[in-house]
C-alpha cells in the first residue's frame, strides 16, 4: 500500500503539565489519597518513634543524669543494644511493606485510567511520570506527618521515663561523644523519615505504574481489581 500520510511522532509534554494533572488528581481523589497517605504516615511514625526513642535513651544515658535508666533492662554503657537494632530493623521492614502495599493498591486500581490516557495519546513515560509525581507528593506529606507523630510519641515516652531532664539533654542534633556511640539526632531522624517515606512511595508505585504503562491499552482497561 502507498504511504499516503505519514504518522508523526508524539511530542513530550512540559513538566508543568504533569505537575498540574497530578495535583488535580490528588485534590479530587482527596479521600482516597488520604488513605494511601495514612499508610505511609503509620509506617514512618512507627519507624521514627522506635528510633527516636532509642536516641533519647542513648542521650540520657550519656548524660548520666537519668535515674530511669536503671529501669531499662538493656541499659548498658555500650549504647545501642541488639534488641534496639532488631526493633529498628523490624519497624523498617513493616514500614517498607506497608508503603509498598499502599502504593501497589493505589496504582493497580487505576489501571483503567492508565489505559484510557494511553488511548488519548499519552506516552508510557508521561504516565509513569504522573504516578511518580503523585506518589512523591503523597510520600513526602505522609512521611512528614508520620515523622512528627513518631517524634511526639518518643517525646511523650521520654517524658514518662526521664521527666523534665529530657528537655535538657534532648538529642536534637547529631552527636558523637568520646565514650559513647554516635547519635543521629532527632532532627536528622525526621529528615531521614521524610526522605525514606518519599523514596519508598516512589519505588512502591514505580513498578506497577511502569507495568501498566507498558501494557497495550486494551489490556490495561480490561484489568479488574
Amino acid at each position: 500500500m502507498d504511504q499516503r500520510t505519514s504518522i508523526e511522532e508524539q511530542i513530550d509534554l512540559p513538566f508543568v503539565e504533569s505537575l498540574k494533572i497530578s495535583f488535580q488528581s490528588l485534590k479530587i481523589r482527596f479521600g482516597r489519597s488520604i488513605i494511601t497517605t495514612a499508610g505511609i504516615t503509620l509506617g514512618i511514625a512507627f519507624l521514627v518513634s522506635v528510633w527516636a526513642n532509642n536516641e533519647i535513651d542513648l542521650a540520657l544515658q550519656e548524660s548520666g543524669r537519668s535515674s530511669a535508666i536503671t529501669n531499662l533492662d538493656e541499659a548498658s554503657e555500650q549504647g545501642i543494644s541488639t534488641k534496639d537494632i532488631w526493633l529498628i530493623i523490624m519497624s523498617l521492614i513493616v514500614c517498607v511493606v506497608g508503603i509498598a502495599n499502599s502504593m501497589l493498591m493505589a496504582v493497580t486500581e487505576r489501571f483503567r485510567e492508565i489505559g484510557t490516557m494511553k488511548c488519548l495519546g499519552a506516552l508510557d513515560g508521561f504516565v509513569v511520570r504522573l504516578f511518580l509525581l503523585e506518589s512523591g507528593f503523597q510520600g513526602f506529606a505522609g512521611a512528614l506527618i508520620g515523622a512528627l507523630i513518631g517524634t511526639l510519641g518518643a517525646v511523650l515516652l521520654g517524658l514518662k521515663n526521664y521527666g523534665m531532664d529530657l528537655f535538657f539533654y534532648f538529642p536534637l542534633f547529631p552527636a558523637n561523644p568520646e565514650n559513647g556511640s554516635f547519635q543521629v539526632g532527632v532532627l536528622l531522624l525526621i529528615l531521614i523519615g521524610c526522605f525514606l517515606g518519599m523514596i519508598l512511595a516512589i519505588v512502591g508505585s514505580s513498578f506497577p505504574a511502569w507495568r501498566a504503562a507498558k501494557l497495550p491499552p486494551a489490556e490495561a482497561m480490561r484489568t479488574e481489581v
Binding site: R4, E8, L13, K118, F126, P216
Partner: protein
Amino acid sequence: MPDIVVKTEDVVKEYRMGSNVLRALDGINIEILRGEYISLMGPSGSGKSTLFNMIGALDRPTKGQVYIDGQNMSNLSQRQIAAFRCHRVGYIFQSYNLLNVRTAHGNVTLPMIFAGIPDKDRNKKAEELLDKVGLGDRMYHLPDELSGGQRQRVAIARALANDPSIILADEPTANLDTITGREIIDLIKQLNTEDGVTVISATHDLKMLDVSDRIVDIRDGLVERIRNRDEIEIEVGDVGGE
C-alpha cells in the same frame, strides 16, 4: 481507485489462559473506505471487540497486519502509535471510560494537552465541542454528576478533540436506554455525514445497523459475511410515543 482507510490482512489474535490458547481472531481480512459507517456485528465472544482493538492500535495482533492510511501499524514506533491514537482516532467505549477525576471539560481537553495545543485554544475548543454535543450547561461537572447519556456525549466530544479521521465506537449504546441510545446514534451519524468522519462501530444494536453503510458479521473470529445496508431489512420502532 477506492480510498481505503483501514485494511487488515490475515489478522490473528490469540490469548493465553494458563495452558490453553484462545484464538479470538482467526485470520480477518477487511477493507474499510474513507467516510464509511461500518458496523461490526456478532454475538458476545465472536471477536468483534478484539478486532476493534486491533484497528484502533489498542492491542497488537499475534499474526497478520493492520494498515491505517496505508501505514503498516506494526512498523510504527511507540511514539508514532501514541501520536496515531492522539490525532487520527477518536475512541468511544461502552462504559464511557471518562477520567472521574476530571470534569467534562477536563476530559475533553486531555487529548488536546497530549497534542500540545495551547491552554487558551484547547479551552475554547472543548467548550465548542461540549456545546455541539448539547452539554454546554454541564461543562464543569464531574462524570459522577452526569447521567449515562451525558457521559457518552462527553466521550464523543472527547473523541472529536483532535479532529480524528476515524471514530471507533465499541458498543456505544449498550449501557443506555432506547431513547438516549437513539440520540447518541444520531449524533455519531451526524459526524459521519456532515464531517466525513469514518465510523467503525462494534455493536449489537439494530438501530446502529440501520444507519450503517455496511455491516460486517463476525463469528468465531472470522468474517462471516459483509452486507450493504440495502441488502438487509431492519425495522426499528420508536419508543416514547412520538
